[in-house]
Symmetry: C2
């Protein structure tokens, strides 16, 4: 089995030393989010995830969720339900939800480390509370008063959980194709009928009720994505006064057999005239859904981070313990039968790759989380707007890059184990299987890439990118004399210039041929992720130098930053070359000739 | 379930048009290996793998091998045993084995397409006959006459199978640490005692006997890797006259629960004074073992190729069928509710990546296979020696790169399916899980990298590399006027020059600091693989142009070559940058500071 220890030291470094969250929260009026409170939350979150969730990760994988064909019931793996009860009991479900609905009102970004720890400890389990956040956000932003009153409180306190019912068998990415119907009833409710698939936590035994947020089409809806509405469809009917009624006409038809996250119930949900309430405006469901999806996307990015961290922790431990061969420059531990494999430069390459992507990814995702808070609370509308653009710009990067890196880190960490990594008992292969979902759900990497380049850069004139690059340039100007970061500043400036240039080039080509957007999008996305991480690594080296952390910690940050610039950042060369090549290399080959 | 159709058209193109195997076999005195014979073998191999093996791939994964703790017996998945009987019946086990031992005497390289088809159809099943080849090779090259007589014939005709018993719980890569003992008996046999792990096909129900080739230490053996001997240890005792005796004191203790290849029995083998025969010289077992391992390594590379091919075939089919969204430049199929996703440039990027790596990898591995034949049969010792150096140089590249690309292709192909790729019923996730073993067994990618740079390049003065680069340069000189390849020649020449320069640089740095070898080895290996593939892609474009294949085929080769040069070959930029950075970026960080 793999083990997990919450990386509190680095979490605190990122939150407080790198991002200055304490001062920022005070500035944003989050007066309750003091350092003392946050420290206590982090300690308690570490304790809960390490001792309650992490030990259930293995059993969740081996036993998985069970489905009863006769009743449509889903039984979660042994211990999952009890762990959820403890989670609710501890008040964790409402950590960042508004006080007025029973939450604890902490900033959004204060919840990100909790999410990282949950996902590292037990990704499959984490999917049950995760989906409630999307439902909570949709209700907060688009619900009527009575809907918020009736549905939000039990979601926030965790008695109920939520789902997002989007995908249907014939449509995932292209939601304009959905067939689920919503027919108005005389009492103002709607009768929802259709089949949704891939519904995470669609049915389970942890909560008293499950609130499905369902995309469906009204009888007179326009065709395509402009004719989609969003509905609240509870598992047990709920009246406008909050009274619980009969079982609703919604039932789990089966659960999927998946590569991983066996402890997470992925359900086919059949709606057969189920009673639902419209949320938001008719035919404006996609907009409400995007509210749910943006936070879910940041959340999935953090899943990649959590899995990467757990994988690399275990690879580091194993590389220190496993004795095999000698160092290339002579025995380092002559008293042992062989040296630990961590003396091998190639093992260090894999370990440092993980360390660089994990700690850099933590800085990037926590920063994005902090911008969510700024976008909601900054004193001026200009600052809120700018932060909002930053969040929009960073969301596809965090989602796609941290999950791609999650696949890479679980790969590299498993590889450090050699053949033992392939055996179930070490737990490394589970992490790799679990990680594989993260580049698929909530929009594949390709969809994130189109969102970044097509929408956030080209359609929105790159407001987020401009803000981001201005910040990087300010950092370069300020820190060029900093002995811990100076050597990184020059290469970082070069990348900023290249990023601007590549963006301009792609923009010009896209005006002539829209296929250029799709042809460049993936490489543009990854390029962006690697340059963003270079910035956070330079900033980390500088912040560590200025911190009260140990010399070993400072050395580790500086050397990992150097490693990143020397051996990971050059991936941008490949991506830049691909961006520079035109769409023809992808579009010229006739579809029928692929297997001529 | 995923499907499989043997890519006979491209297999024939590579074998006959690209490599000119027919003429080459004639020149090497393989007079039986005519085009007619080879065509019939390919057709029959396709039929067998498509109709017998491929349908068992899913059940092999779902049911797997079963172990009986009471008897130590292993039961293979339903249908596996019958398929093996058909395989034996068809004479496939001895396809490339010498006529004098009952084989069909075809060239080694004529067996590579069969191996590709087997691995694509059913990798787990393919591991049962695979290990016999290693045993066969070891016996052929190191066995005494009576050993060849008694053991080789039943291995060649498939009544018996073989294993390689190397790894022990505490040692895999570092075989100098093994503890298994061989004590001489009065009758000239040895009593073998010890525990071996990760023994593929160590126990099963397919064959009458299992011949274990076991590394063990004689009582007076020198310490470390110079004191290892190789022994023949049959499951049922075999006398020198071939008489079958009692059950030997070797027993399967358990089978591993693995991420994939569930149909392949990975056994813990306990030897408890089992009767064994020494093969080869005392204390020279590692040399004999390398004989087994080199062909096994080429074989594992081909496993990566087979899995990649199956994955990409299915991704192509799905991308043509799945209707979702519209082309970025307007509806391509306005009569359908949406366009097939293959119109999306980013989907094409994934498909073309697979196509380029699969077809390029096929050319590379078949070429390496042909060099095995040249090394054995060429008319002059100089040519045999040169081919032998080429095989040694190409083996780690084929093994490591084709398996790394196997992981990439199964990743990309699964990604084309979106969320559906994560669901067991489509079979894509099985391919990804099965592929994950290939970069681990028979030496991890890191070990292949050290073999390439440390041994084949630096210790052996790069004889194989020089021969290879001379061949590439001859090709560039000859084809610079070829309209189908001319545009690729310039970039290829640049890479040849860069490869030479990087090799020189690393060699110089390694003389000053041996850690530089380990620090550069992985990136040097991947760099080599990408440049080698560029050569085979340029050669493929030229060979297709000169062939009698359809215009669509020629276009596909040329456009895929262009894609490769524009979007995959630039990965060499990243690897070259990493090679250029010194070992310090990996070695400076103190071991204890990784998690400071």
């Amino acid at each position: 089995m793999s083990t997990y220890k919450a990386p509190l030291s680095d979490i605190r470094f990122v939150l407080f030393d790198l991002l200055g969250a304490e001062q920022e929260y005070a500035r944003l009026g989050h007066t309750d989010a003091t350092r003392d409170v946050l420290d206590a939350v982090l300690d308690e979150a570490a304790r809960f995830t390490e001792t309650v969730l992490a030990p259930l990760n293995d059993v969740g994988d081996r036993i998985g969720c069970k489905f009863d064909q006769d009743t449509g019931a889903v039984t979660t793996p042994p211990g999952f339900k009890q762990a959820y009860a403890q989670f609710v009991e501890g008040g964790w479900t409402g950590l960042v939800s508004p006080l007025e609905f029973g939450g604890q009102g902490l900033p959004y970004s204060a919840g990100v480390p909790l999410k990282e720890m949950i996902d590292a400890a037990n990704l499959a389990w984490g999917n049950f509370p995760l989906l409630s956040h999307g439902a909570t956000d949709a209700l907060l932003h688009h619900g009527e008063d009575w809907q918020r009153e009736v549905f939000l409180k039990p979601l926030v306190d965790g008695r109920w959980t939520g789902t997002m019912c989007l995908t249907e068998p014939h449509c995932g990415t292209d939601l304009g194709l959905i067939k689920t119907k919503a027919v108005p009833n005389a009492d103002g409710t709607y009768a929802i009928s259709g089949t949704k698939i891939f519904i995470t936590a669609g049915e389970h035994d942890m909560a008293d009720n499950i609130i499905h947020l369902v995309l469906a089409k009204l009888p007179d809806a326009p065709a395509g994505s402009r004719g989609i509405s969003l509905f609240i469809v509870p598992k047990h009917q709920v009246a406008r006064d909050g009274t619980i009624g009969a079982a609703n006409a919604v039932r789990c038809g089966s659960i999927e057999h998946k590569m991983g996250i066996h402890g997470s119930a992925t359900c086919v949900m059949n709606f057969d005239g189920a009673q639902g309430y419209l949320i938001g405006q008719p035919n404006k469901g996609l907009m409400a859904m995007f509210t749910m999806m943006n936070t879910a996307r940041l959340g999935v990015g953090v899943q990649g981070l959590g899995l990467s961290d757990r994988a690399w922790q275990n690879a580091l431990r194993y590389s220190r313990e496993r004795l095999q061969s000698r160092s290339l420059s002579g025995a380092k531990f002559p008293d042992k039968p062989a040296d630990p494999i961590i003396v091998q430069p190639d093992v260090r390459r894999m370990l440092l790759t993980c360390k660089a992507l994990v700690e850099g990814g933590r800085a990037l995702s926590y920063f994005a989380g902090l911008q969510v808070d700024v976008s909601e609370r900054a004193p001026t509308p200009e600052e809120r707007e700018q932060a909002d653009a930053l969040v929009g710009f960073l969301t596809p990067i965090v989602k796609a890059c941290l999950t791609e890196w999650g696949i890479e880190c679980t790969y590299q960490a498993l590889q450090c184990f050699g053949g033992h990594g392939y055996i179930a008992e070490h737990g490394m292969e589970q992490l790799a299987r679990d990680a594989r979902i993260t580049t698929l759900y909530e929009g594949t990497t390709g969809i994130q890439a189109l969102d970044l380049l097509g929408r956030k850069i080209l359609q929105l004139q790159g407001a987020g990118l401009k803000t981001f690059l201005a910040m990087v340039t300010r950092f370069c100007d300020a820190e060029s004399g900093n002995e811990a970061a100076a050597e990184l500043i020059g290469p970082l400036r070069e990348k900023v210039a290249q990023w601007q240039q590549l963006t301009l080039q792609v923009g010009q080509r896209a005006m002539a041929n829209p296929e250029e957007v799709g042809a460049a999008s993936y490489d543009y996305l990854m390029y962006s992720g690697y340059v963003a991480l270079a910035y956070f690594w330079a900033r980390s080296a500088a912040a560590a130098h200025a911190s009260a952390y140990s010399d070993a910690f400072k050395q580790a940050k500086l050397e990992t930053a150097r490693f990143y610039f020397a051996r990971i950042l050059p991936r941008t060369l490949t991506h830049a070359a691909a961006i520079a090549s035109d769409a023809g290399t992808l579009t010229r080959l006739d579809e029928s000739a692929f297997d001529a």
